[in-house]
């Protein structure tokens, strides 16, 4: 009998990203995982780009020209949006861990995400 199919396994991490039909906490968890993965990927890309400095000013300047590309610019926007969402969601986790707002964690999430939305909109207006 395939009893392993239903048991915990590290390979089932994909279930973190399927919050459909679940409570708001699962959506917050999925958002935090997704933004964390995005920011980690960005960190590596950032280090690779900084490595261009070691190849001389020419190589770095050549890369900087790329940042005017709309796709790269959108990527930068995604990084900032992810950082804002991740940071504010993290504040919710810190507060609840400290015993603050445990029974109001849903309202806390909606409130912080509303702030995130406003900040992202302001950033978008300034960026474009």
């Amino acid at each position: 009998m395939d009893i392993t199919r239903n048991q915990p396994s590290a390979r089932r991490f994909w279930s973190w990203f399927i919050p459909f039909r679940r409570d708001i906490g699962s959506w917050a968890f999925a958002l935090n995982r997704a933004t964390a993965i995005g920011l980690t990927i960005y960190l590596f890309l950032h280090l690779i780009i900084l490595g261009k400095l070691a190849q001389g000013p020419g190589a770095y300047d050549q890369f900087l020209e790329l940042t005017e590309n709309p796709f790269i610019k959108f990527g930068e926007w995604l990084v900032v949006a992810a950082a804002i969402l991740h940071g504010l969601n993290g504040i919710r986790i810190i507060l609840t861990t400290l015993g603050v707002g445990i029974t109001r964690q849903k309202q806390l999430f909606f409130g912080l995400m509303a702030i995130a939305l406003v900040v992202i909109l302001i950033f978008t207006a300034r960026m474009y």
Binding site: N6, F20, R22, G25, F29, I93, G99
Partner: protein, 242 residues
């Protein structure tokens, strides 16, 4: 005459040597019946090989926990009208994160062993229970009384927890809530059990355990309180006040 709905009960089937699949059972139900009634009807009138766990039918034994349309429910207290509608399909599956024994029945042994590990109490003195409006001080004649623990060990929180899905060693919501109920001051030996990688710090504050708990144990709040207890115990140990 009472209102009747026609529904399709979609039951997860998994027998030894067979690939998991779903069987559909079309039936008439009263929307004010409970989901367990539909499962029992499938067994009684459609297929006697449908395997599921149940006992008390009034949310005391915790045996009939299943996933109903993807969400953990205690099926004996889940009204049909709350989870389906006339002409709709109602999907029932076994709890996640437990080995499937057959169809909807899962092996809870590993979970019960974790509950034992933290010394989960089935009953506790009424003076130690979390109740609404407790008296400032319990009269001695009342303090002798005991009551059942809120947790009915149904395993819904274990199934709903996304961290549990990837980490079998994680103690999980109900055992951590039981540890909080015991308290580290009363049972100092619990510190080493919960203050570890797969203990209280593994929780990622998803709050699904509290969302699905049918018994108002509120495991998420208890886990946060247990963290406070752990930090307190560590500080006391640090300053030699244990």
């Amino acid at each position: 005459m009472s209102e009747m709905w026609k529904i399709t009960l979609r039951v997860h089937r998994q027998k030894e040597g067979e690939a998991p699949h779903f069987d559909n059972f079309t039936m008439e139900v009263n929307p004010d019946e409970y989901v367990i009634d539909a499962v029992e009807r499938a067994w009684a009138f459609h297929d006697r090989t449908v395997c599921f766990r149940h006992a008390c039918h009034h949310s005391t034994c915790g045996a009939c926990g299943m996933r109903v349309n993807g969400v953990e429910k205690l099926t004996c207290i889940t009204l049909m009208r709350d989870v389906t509608s006339n002409g709709a399909t109602l999907r029932v599956e076994p709890l996640r994160n437990f080995p499937v024994v057959s169809d909807l029945a899962v092996d809870m042994g590993h979970f019960y062993r974790k509950m034992e590990r933290v010394g989960a109490r089935a009953v506790l003195p009424v003076s130690e229970a979390e109740i609404e409006n407790p008296p400032g001080e319990w009269p001695p004649q009342d303090a002798q009384y005991i009551r059942l623990s809120d947790c009915i060990e149904c395993g819904l929180c274990i199934s709903a927890c996304p961290v549990m899905a990837t980490t079998p060693e994680y103690l999980g919501p109900a055992p951590l809530a039981a540890a909080q109920d015991n308290g580290i001051r009363r049972k100092p030996e619990l510190l080493s059990v919960v203050d570890c990688e797969d203990g209280v710090w593994r929780c990622h504050s998803v709050f699904e355990c509290t969302a699905v708990c049918p018994s108002f144990v509120d495991p998420a709040r208890r886990i946060m309180d247990l963290r406070r207890q752990v930090v307190g115990a560590r500080l006391r140990n640090l300053f030699g006040k244990a």
